[in-house]
């Protein structure tokens, strides 16, 4: 084997390794923009990926139906019990109606926000392999008017942001990822916090609304909305629902486990908000602050 390390072959392999390290450093320096050759590869591979993903999604769904049969049965029983309870609590229907009106109002958010410029619906062409936060690829890119860090949504709620941009495809980082920090507030109580992903909660498909005041009035099932303060996300878009409120480890603040309104694991189509009122406001402010400082 000693001869190998003195051979031309070994030198050629070393040169290839050096080239690969160079490619890696170049890819790091691109800061979220896909290398053009990769973009071409993604364009070629996209139809095949779409086809294989469609097949596996159907198989996954079919298996889930059989796998969840027991859960569905239990859920059905629980729902029947719930219906019976609701019948007995009919006297309190006024509260229920009010709650329903609130929910209807949130469903109409999209219609009320005329300032949004939306991309054409983008198909989910594949999920990032073994990503714990469910990042995925869509068939829309720079050519479709999508920009890096644009918010990605469904009609149900916020999904994430465009974290890598190619000419015809993009990668979306979901709100389960710790890489994302979103200024958020509750719909009624007015509590504000920062919504981010955590390793532990992401395993259950939840995210964390942190830095809430210790005596927060936030309750289960309350709707969490974007505040739009950082200019990355539009104001008042539904993120999810409060699942649980707990004091933080330090005891100084509280946090809420938030269940995303959009089904992050079973999405087929999403829409990218390419423009909205207040977009990039913080960036301008920061620029102003920098200018003032100088």
């Amino acid at each position: 084997m000693g001869d190998f390390f003195r051979s031309v072959k070994f030198r050629v392999i070393l040169c290839i390794l050096a080239l690969l390290v160079g490619v890696m450093i170049y890819a790091v320096s691109m800061g979220g923009y896909t290398i053009s050759t990769v973009g071409i590869f993604n364009t070629v591979a996209a139809p095949f990926q779409r086809a294989s993903n469609a097949i596996s999604t159907r198989v996954e769904h079919a298996l889930q139906v059989y796998g969840d049969a027991e859960d569905t049965f239990e859920e059905n029983r629980a729902l029947r019990r719930e219906v019976a309870e609701l019948h007995t609590q009919l006297s309190g229907y006024e509260d229920t109606r009010q709650e329903l009106e609130e929910l209807q109002a949130f469903m109409g958010i999209k219609e009320r926000h005329e300032d949004y410029t939306l991309s054409a619906p983008c198909e989910v062409i594949g999920f990032v392999t073994n990503d714990p936060y469910g990042a995925f690829m869509i068939d829309g890119g720079e050519e479709d008017g999508i920009h890096l860090y644009d918010p990605v949504v469904t009609e149900l709620g916020l999904v994430g942001i465009v974290s890598e941009l190619g000419a015809q495809t993009s990668t979306v980082t979901t709100i389960l990822s710790p890489d994302l920090n979103i200024a958020a507030c509750s719909s009624s109580a007015g509590d504000r916090g920062v919504l981010t992903g955590t390793v532990a909660l992401s395993q259950e498909g939840l995210c964390k609304l942190q830095y809430l005041s210790r005596d927060t009035k936030m309750k289960k099932e309350q709707v969490i909305l974007t505040t739009g303060e950082n200019g990355l996300f539009p104001r008042g878009y539904v993120i999810g629902y409060v699942k649980d409120v707990q004091p933080d480890d330090s005891g100084m603040t509280a946090y809420a486990a938030v269940e995303p309104a959009a089904d992050l694991s079973g999405m087929a189509k999403v829409v990218v908000i390419t423009d909205f009122a207040g977009k990039g406001r913080l960036t301008e402010k920061e620029a102003q602050t920098d200018a003032d400082g100088q």
């Binding site: 490619v23 890819a27 596996s56 073994n130």
Partner: protein
């Protein structure tokens, strides 16, 4: 006699082309399987690249490792080249080990895949998650990295046979070389 050797040579070249086309198809299928669905999956390209490397020379192993590594980078959303560097090193090492020391046995490739899969998994975990010191980050190793490494190792059993069959049918027989004995002089 000369005509016979020419036709043999032509047949050998043709078989080599068929072999590499089949390997390319296997690589494409494994890539598609890797990127389909949102559930945890084995990184099939690792055992496939190692199986192919065990049947070919060092330069071919470099090329296979580079392609498979790039595809893993694309599928897993990692920086382009990070897995390619690792797989090139592993593929060349596997090719050399098979040239000088190892024989085509299932256990050998399973063990080599295990070493490669766990090394790749640990490095990926460290550089993508561990390095940031997030709370409960160990959960990711137990719930994502470890199962993926185990599945990857297990999948080498499935890929060993088709790759071996292609290599055998296409007449790619490895020649084993003995290391030169050092010369002793009085």
């Amino acid at each position: 006699m000369l005509t016979g050797s020419k036709s043999q040579e032509r047949r050998h070249v043709l078989l080599q082309i068929v072999q590499w086309v089949l390997f390319a198809l296997l690589i494409a299928v494994c890539f598609l399987l890797e990127t389909a669905g949102s559930f945890l999956k084995p990184l099939l390209l690792i055992p496939l690249a190692l199986c192919i490397a065990s049947h070919c020379g060092e330069i071919q192993a470099t090329a296979v490792g580079m392609i498979a590594g790039f595809l893993i980078d694309l599928g897993c959303g990692r920086f382009l080249g990070s897995n390619a560097v690792l797989l090139v090193i592993f593929c060349v090492a596997v090719s050399l080990l098979y040239r000088y020391y190892l024989r085509q046995k299932l256990l050998n490739i399973v063990l080599l895949t295990a070493v490669c899969a766990f090394a790749q998994g640990y490095l990926d975990y460290m550089f993508c998650y561990g390095i940031w010191g997030l709370a409960d980050v160990g959960l990711l190793y137990r719930h994502v990295t470890l199962p993926v490494s185990l599945m990857t190792t297990a999948s080498s059993v499935l890929l060993y046979f088709p790759v071996g069959l292609i290599a055998r049918k296409c007449g790619n027989r490895r020649t084993y070389e003995l290391e030169k004995m050092p010369e002793y002089r009085d």
